[in-house]
Subunit: 656 residues, 2 copies
């Protein structure tokens, strides 16, 4: 493959926000922003805060803010810009995410004009650094049950913000331990003796000099596995008086006399509406995790192109790591998945952008769909990144364990992504709930739930309704000839049908099982089944995004093979299910494995091209092995006496 293939791939991958990616490569190039190894906690925090203050000139930062306050109202660009920052330094990306995404995002989405006018410019300029104080030590995933209270007192026209006990302290809060001057604090709103659920207040926590304000106790979460540059900490409040005006009151207002009003009467619905406006955080985390996976794959693949190990019988030079099937299984399969997730992420960013830039408020089902996709793809991408970076680390052996080769940092920094911005297991449950709720909404009033054929038919249309690139997918599926056994293993329609069938069957089964019982035990018995249904759903969403991307780029045949590898590797990984449910015969199941190996062989010569397609500048990758490897290999080739390789090695099955 010529270089032009790499360029074409990069164009396809750069996608709709290519200009944002190009700008980042140009403006954040050089060594100024790249990550530094071996810093102390204090050094890392100091450096990241300093760099953060240089970022407001980056167009990506402004993209998240309304035009009235110096922003450019381009949520899609703001996500893509964060994805690019994640290639450079994950602490910087997270710190920026805390400042502009979470803190600034909450003021924008939950506040009203007086809050915007008073604070948004200072937040955008990084003049005012702030926290997003939602999670508590005792409540992370179940935000609705937060224990911090904020009780309105009409006498003084202030709220009383209070942490009732140790487990109710705010925990893991970025910008809290060192830099934050204000915090968006989430607490239970109580007025006139009645609870109205979780709301948010914009609360000063430190004075100009950085001293905690009276009643505010600030702790430091100290050393973490990674993200040393982010100052996570703990906040507790002892009857802190906050003015009525600092309630971020877009969705719920308290009048001077304490009367509560809201355009959304139901507390739970209001709460989820508020949370829904903050969906961008999850989209950023998922995309950033994929960026880290791309960086790791680029490093490991390039190292594996140069490093040699063991001499095969009859050969002079040792075998290049990437030539081993086991190495290809370790790197190329995750690489294909990374491509697939990239296209799914881009579709998600587009959906987010369209919902959030629409003139009218989003329709309920579009917002729900967006939240479900964001949850599912966040879980899929962060777990994928954790596994993939680990595989890349191992694929580089001892070199992969050295900080100078970047992989340890990528691993440690992204590790928390699987549990922050929503624990992945809880997010999968959210996806499942969305699917099942959609089902109930459509058929809740019918008596005929039990009629199996009817259920099956309805689940099918529900599933299909949720599809992107619907017409294309439908055409592909309809074109699959007759029985599975006769269909080519690379038939795209067959891939989609296999993914759809699995999702549909799992969903139907989950519904049937859930309807048999009630209470915790009944739910719990089905939990693994429900989570698997959610995973199957996400797999299909991802495949369909990849299928649509292949269709958009007919001039890049390589992409279609990568899509084949993705689809078949998912089927192979879950062949137990497909065999159990007679979607695969034993013979065809074995053929799938053979085809995966065949595709690995076909794609092997293009490995380097495939990672080059990510378009990550070398200075961002910043791995010593990449700088040294080319030179070293030349020297080794010159020094290696061919005769030295003639002894028996581990490659041979039976040495003398």
């Amino acid at each position: 493959m010529a270089d032009s293939d790499g360029q074409r791939l990069q164009e396809v991958l750069d996608g709709r926000w290519a200009h944002v990616r190009r700008a980042a490569r140009e403006q954040l190039g050089g060594s100024h922003f790249v990550t530094v190894q071996g810093e102390s906690l204090e050094q890392a925090r100091e450096r990241i805060t300093r760099l953060l203050r240089e970022l407001p000139t980056d167009p990506g930062v402004a993209a998240g803010f309304p035009s009235e306050y110096g922003g450019s109202s381009d949520p899609g660009a703001s996500v893509v810009s964060a994805e690019m920052l994640a290639h450079i330094d994950l602490s910087l990306m997270v710190k920026a995410g805390v400042q502009w995404g979470l803190f600034g995002g909450a003021v924008t989405a939950l506040g009203t004009e007086r809050h915007h006018a008073a604070y948004l410019r200072r937040i955008l300029d990084a003049e005012l650094l702030g926290c997003f104080a939602m999670t508590e030590t005792g409540h992370g995933s179940d935000v609705q049950q937060l224990r911090t209270t904020c009780v309105y007192d009409p006498e003084t026209e202030t709220f009383d913000l209070h942490t009732p006990h140790e487990a109710a302290r705010k925990d893991y809060i970025g910008n809290a331990a060192r830099d934050g001057r204000m915090a968006v604090v989430f607490a239970q709103l109580i007025t006139q003796g009645k609870r109205y659920g979780v709301h948010a207040w914009l609360v000063p926590i430190r004075d100009e000099d950085g001293t905690p304000l009276p009643g505010v106790t600030i702790g430091d979460d100290g050393h973490k596995a990674g993200l040393l540059g982010v100052d996570n900490g703990r906040l507790s409040f002892t009857h802190v008086r906050v003015p009525r005006e600092v309630l971020l009151d877009r969705y719920g207002q308290v009048a001077p006399d304490g009367t509560y009003t809201s355009s959304i009467a139901n507390d739970t619905r209001r709460f989820f509406t508020m949370l829904g406006t903050l969906v961008r955080g999850r989209v950023v985390v998922g995309g950033s995790a994929s960026s880290a996976a791309k960086s790791a794959l680029t490093i490991a693949v390039r190292y594996g192109e140069a490093r040699r190990q063991f001499t095969a019988p009859g050969q002079d030079r040792e075998v290049v790591l990437n030539d081993y099937l086991a190495h290809q299984r370790a790197l190329l399969v995750p690489l294909a998945t990374t491509y697939a997730l990239h296209f799914a992420q881009e579709e998600l960013v587009t959906a987010l952008h369209e919902v959030q830039t629409s003139d009218s408020p989003p329709e309920d089902h579009r917002q729900r769909e967006l939240e479900s996709r964001a949850a599912g793809l966040k879980a899929a991408q962060t777990w994928h990144a954790t596994r993939t970076i680990q595989a890349c680390r191992e694929a580089c052996g001892g070199a992969g364990y050295l900080a100078e080769n970047r992989l340890p940092g990528l691993k440690a920094d992204t590790d928390v992504f699987t549990t922050f911005e929503g624990d992945n297991t809880v997010l999968l449950q959210l996806v499942a709930k969305g699917l099942l709720t959609g089902y109930r909404d459509a058929f809740g009033s019918l008596d005929g739930w039990g009629r199996a054929t009817f259920v099956a038919e309805q689940v099918r249309s529900l599933v299909l309704e949720r599809t992107a690139a619907r017409a294309l997918i439908q055409r592909l599926v309809s074109a699959v000839p007759g029985r599975d056994e006769d269909v080519a293993l690379t038939d795209r329609g067959w891939h989609v049908r296999m993914f759809e069938d699995r999702e549909k069957h799992l969903l139907e089964g989950a519904i049937r099982r859930l309807r048999k019982g009630s209470g915790f035990a009944a739910f719990n018995d089905v939990q693994d089944h429900v989570l698997k249904a959610a995973s199957a759903h996400i797999d299909r969403v991802v495949l369909e995004a990849f299928v649509a991307a292949v269709d958009r780029a007919p001039g890049v045949p390589l992409l279609s093979k990568v899509c084949d590898l993705y689809a078949l590797s998912v089927i192979e990984a879950d062949k137990g299910w497909f065999l159990e449910h007679q979607r695969l015969t034993p013979a065809r199941s074995k053929a799938v494995t053979a085809k995966v190996n065949d595709l690995l062989q076909q794609l092997r010569p293009h490995l380097r091209t495939l990672v080059d397609g990510f378009g990550i500048p070398d200075e961002w990758l910043d791995a010593a092995i990449l700088r040294e490897e080319a030179a070293r290999q030349d020297v080794m080739a010159a020094h290696d006496a061919p005769g030295a390789a003639a002894t028996a090695t581990n490659l041979e099955v039976a040495p003398a």
Copy 2:
């Protein structure tokens, strides 16, 4: 279950070297040795070196050395002692392993009496700190191909030790960057113009003050993902003259005139014999990885007993994490595997102990068997630890990401275990090679290789021959009634038969496929198949060790259920293979999953007892969440108004 169950479990797990485990709990208790978070590289190295110098009084250290030089010649005890140290601080364990296991071990095993007399006491006392300089930047797994040369010069009666190019520098060498004064250096021995393969020399690298000696260039590997207390570095030699006498010449001698002699004529065989004497390092790494997994599981399980999340409909208090099926799948299944690996490791330590304390040199096949088990169990235990600690980290959410809760350290420190002391994939290949070589040894001379029935029969007897607790296992397998479908899913004989069948079938298939071709391509096409055969072999070895342990402890019925869970979870995880090869019907495959869930429910009440069985003192676990959790939960229970829980949560399938 009463506390006595925990005690009985601990007795069974403490096993043959219970006295060593008890002594460690008593002598290394308190906070003196426990790991410290957030140190700089220099602080960590300083502390670990200081603690290392206090350890020689520990009986476990002396256990690895011959009695003549202050040791107690108890290799089993030395391994178990290292496993205990791994609970406390993995840097300390690795540093001790470098000093006494690798450096001291190489002098003991490869040197002769004059080396022993001159150095062993000073090594044991940590007066002389040293390196094990085997790995090079360009050659790790393929040690036979090391590029460093050591050429004998009869004129001066010295060797010329030389690093020919950058990729031949010694790399990742513990004790090199800071502390080492000498190094056992592995290099190609050349004398009288002829190469005799890799040998080892005991070479001074620094003077008393720590200054590198002339011709010795020392580099620092700097920051690593973990193990900050171990000073890994790089060594290069520029024509360093070393005296003839420092060749560790147990297996190969060079006379003053340069004549080479050895009791083992074949270079390759001599090389593998030398390596074979160093097998203890792998056994220690595998066991230490399991120690880290046990620590992580204890922390996560105890956290999961206290932490609550989401209120189930109709309940007042939130649900304890450990009550969720998904949480049980995440923690209890790896816990069962950890039990299984523990017993397999103990069997391996016993085998090592018996081979290395025998009066006569080990028979070839016993030594080979030991090396194969050590390789296989090292790979299995280190991969298991990496996955399990990750799962534990995620199971503790944000708390699991804080250094104060120990999980980040356990993860980062053990991460390299999957690739050091032998890359796991290469080790699996070694296991496969052992199986295939054993096969060839038995039938190599026959023409009838192709006769399928014969091959099948012979593979079966070969497989069975390698079994521990042979009579017991045979009895169990023979007692399995008729067809699989009629056998209870918890029938132990059926478990063993399933494991054996899979191994045998995979091995036969690999042999058939390998015999069809030759050269690298043919080998490479089968690589995934060969690796799977090796994994299946290890799984069986592990199951049989567990079965034997259950048999030894008839008074602990809990153990039998844990063994069921282990066996069935392995079958479930590979159900794709069993279905493909008609060892499971679809219906029975689904029943396996149901049975695993059923066992999780049965074992749920005993989760705490199961981790208590590991007998890890709280001060070693050293996790803030364990100290805080009990108190915090009491407070929360008192503060939680039951009414607060009545709103809808994520647990419900369809909120209003």
